[in-house]
Symmetry: C2
């Protein structure tokens, strides 16, 4: 046991140092690397990946994990859970035939470029053969990795959201279909009357940046352990709890975008900064899952950031930054403007209310593709049918349809559901939070310290030492229950739209 | 042979990817990493170093280099020279006893912290035992690494400036002692009469940054293959010819510092950007030596940047940036201001004329320490004696004396001479350049393209495929000759000071 632990820890130490290099280099690539450097850079990243791969697949490391997995009852809880997670990687290595794995990696090496060409020209036929190959691999992958207790779509889902099953998701989306689909129709039929000229005015970018700094203070995002910078697409990266970085992107004609991107990314960032620093040296640092991470970013962005109470406290400040544009806009009109619900084609532009419907249709299609219910020939038609069904819209072309997201080209099946799950976790967590602390009072206090502290104790500090299901259960006292999400959305939008 | 070449190339590929990670992480550390991240970061860097060390000292890599070294006559010239350079590392590994090496690394791990404490308190006694240990190691190191053709101080000198010997340096410094020491006395006795109020005015930093960008255009520093940023101490870093980064530091009350730091660092940067890109994938990318690198930065900074002709073209532009501060200052007065000669205590603040005298005394002391002519007890007294002798000044305390530089604490013996050699190379190169191209006309043209091109063809493109001696010989048609440097300084300063 001692020997296996030593191999395990020593290999992890090396893997972590390479991961650290990846994180810093990746950050640099997206924020300031000069444009001519990428050929060379990708070669170096290739070599570092190779070194990481050799470590991860080394016989002694695999053997150590297998051994520790069998003995996991004798390990402390944190390590035992970590070993369970690591075992997934080992299984992949052992169960996926090497030649198939190499072929898939080669496919991944060119797939995004092909996808982007298809997207640019709006020609699904360019993407189709590639998608076919990826889906074929995923189907075989599911077969290789299946166990008696984990089969079919559950295999890929579990890789993104540990412990969640197709049953869980089916139930979740069934509730949305029943409650949210018709509610969206009702809401979007109504026309919200308010002064909306301010939405399309020009908002100088230097002031947007200053306001982002103000928001970082409100959120208590710790800049001695973090960085805020710019990039084409906002993102969060972290190397450990004391180095968490977020970016934002500023549009002169869409200042709302930057405000909520900032809150969203700093939501991810706050989660990472509040993870117990003792976990920094383990493989259990970082958030618990994709869904749990998204729950935190969306909690801060939507439930807090798009609440009336938040802007009761901060709207005056925003008006000070933009007296010309917002000086005569009432808080009520501002609140309506940031919460407009609109049926739309593009997921990333969707509002809080309609967002999960975009996910639902992707989930439906993924399941059907992986269980042979539809072939890649029929994916666009299926897509357009579901957009009509869930959102009541007619897709004009594949650019605003099936080609809009890069995920499938990157081999990410089972990932989309975590976006919607995150929003639903957030509502369930918020419900519990309101029972335990006075959220309105905290929002009136000027900063989110009280909220951060509650989340730290209930969720953040655990990092990935517990499964998302376990964290949710511990934090809220009950299993995942999508009803909170439905109730939250209906209550909020009924009020705004006076339904 | 084939097999050894494969091992050699494959190991280099991995070493280069780790070096690449080091360069990007180092850049990040000095320009934007949050202050709380460094404990974790140093652990990761430690692990990456360890991985690099294991590769460098692996039996098969050492064996491959030894074999290729013996067969170097059969390799192409570039590779043959590269192998000669790599052999030095291998010799270190083979000839330095492991336990001594480990002890020295541990010493290095704490030495800078001790040095900084000594510097802060001005107490040489804190630094003395450490310096003693370092010098003891260096003396043993010289013994281990000595060969019939390379002994004593030459062993360490050769590591910084390949092929240069104590004889070369002795001759060089003898000329300086004979010509520059008395000349400095003459110059600094004279008082330069001109309006110098502008030197201490306030120069808003945003304009300094804009002017730095202007300078980057003048120098044709390619921002599609480079970055300019800020840091506490200006530096240049490069990962390869298409990613070269420089920093600057701006002081509101010392705008001259930023201008010449920018030119200096972009001088280093231009060298790196102009190295043949075919060398990016080899171990022969990067400048030829410390001295050659410094020759380029100082050439741009001093010979070009502090020339009258440069400012004839660009001074008006500078006045546009600072009309209040410089509007009424004549070009002549500006030129005098940026070329003031002053005997001073601190090397890094020294002007172009007196700079090399600071190096000279360090060289004298290093040689004496390593050949047992003085003990560490006597280093401060020796220092102060030489400052008196060469600069005519009386050192008040060790802060402005022996404790001012970090180099010895970092184990860098043999490094200082390269600073002065660089200045002297620059003058010799400049002399040849003036015979071949019309430098004045290029300076009048508005940018330095013509100069860059000449330097690229004569020096830069070779990277480190040739020794600095060979490059100098090829570029100028003669061996290193310090007379050019002496002539250049005396001519320039005689004119300014009307001697």
């Amino acid at each position: 046991m001692e020997k296996f632990l030593q191999i395990y820890n020593d290999t992890n130490r090396k893997l972590k140092s390479i991961n650290f290099a990846f994180a810093v280099i990746g950050w640099d690539s997206q924020t300031e690397a000069p444009k001519e450097c990428f050929d060379y850079r990708s070669k170096q990243l290739g070599t570092l990946s190779e070194m990481s791969y050799v470590l991860q697949t080394s016989k002694e490391y695999v053997e150590a994990i297998n051994h520790l997995y069998l003995e996991r009852e004798n390990l402390d809880k944190v390590l035992s859970h970590e070993i369970e997670r690591m075992k997934k990687g080992v299984d992949q290595i052992q169960k996926v035939p090497m030649d198939e794995y190499v072929k898939y990696c080669q496919l991944m090496g060119k797939s995004e470029a092909i996808y982007f060409e298809a997207k640019q020209t709006g020609d699904y036929e360019i993407f189709k053969p590639l998608l076919g190959e990826i889906v074929d691999f995923k189907k075989k992958y599911i077969k290789w990795l299946s166990t008696p207790s984990k089969k079919g779509y559950n295999v890929v889902l579990d890789e993104y959201e540990e412990g969640f099953t197709t049953d869980d998701c089916d139930k979740f989306f069934a509730v949305l279909k029943e409650k949210i689909v018709p509610f969206v129709k009702t809401v979007t039929k109504k026309k919200l009357k308010f002064n909306q000229k301010w939405l399309t005015k020009s908002y100088p970018i230097d002031k947007q940046k200053e306001f982002t700094n103000y928001i970082s203070q409100v959120m208590c995002f710790d800049l001695s352990r973090g960085v805020i910078k710019e990039s084409e697409h906002p993102f969060t990266t972290n190397t450990h709890s004391k180095d968490v970085r977020v970016t934002n992107h500023y549009y002169e004609n869409n200042f709302i975008s930057a405000i909520f991107s900032a809150i969203h990314e700093m939501g991810h960032g706050t989660y990472e900064q509040q993870i117990d620093e003792k976990l920094d040296d383990t493989m259990s640092g970082g958030g618990a899952s994709f869904g749990m991470h998204e729950s935190q970013s969306r909690f801060y962005e939507n439930i807090i950031g798009r609440s009336y109470e938040f802007w009761q406290t901060h709207y005056e400040k925003l008006q000070e930054y933009y007296p010309k544009q917002l000086g005569k806009v009432s808080l009520d009109d501002f609140y309506k403007g940031i919460n407009l619900a609109k049926r739309s084609f593009i997921r990333t532009d969707a509002d809080e209310l309609t967002y999960s419907l975009h996910i639902m249709l992707r989930y439906d299609i993924e399941k059907k593709m992986l269980s042979n219910k539809i072939s890649v020939d029929n994916v666009p038609a299926e897509w357009n049918k579901l957009v009509k069904k869930y959102l009541g819209l007619t897709v004009k072309d594949d650019k605003e349809g099936v080609l809009q997201d890069v995920h499938w080209a990157g081999g990410s099946f089972g990932y989309f559901p975590t976006y919607a799950l995150g929003s639903a976790y957030a509502a369930q967590i918020y419900h519990k939070m309101c029972q335990e602390i006075d959220v309105k009072q905290i929002l009136a206090s000027g900063n989110l310290k009280g909220i951060n502290e509650w989340l730290k104790e209930k969720i953040h500090k655990y990092g990935s030492t517990l499964s998302p299901k376990q964290i949710l259960l511990n934090a809220t006292g009950e299993e995942f229950n999508p009803q909170y999400y439905v109730d939250y959305l209906i209550e909020k939008y009924s009020k705004i739209y006076e339904i």
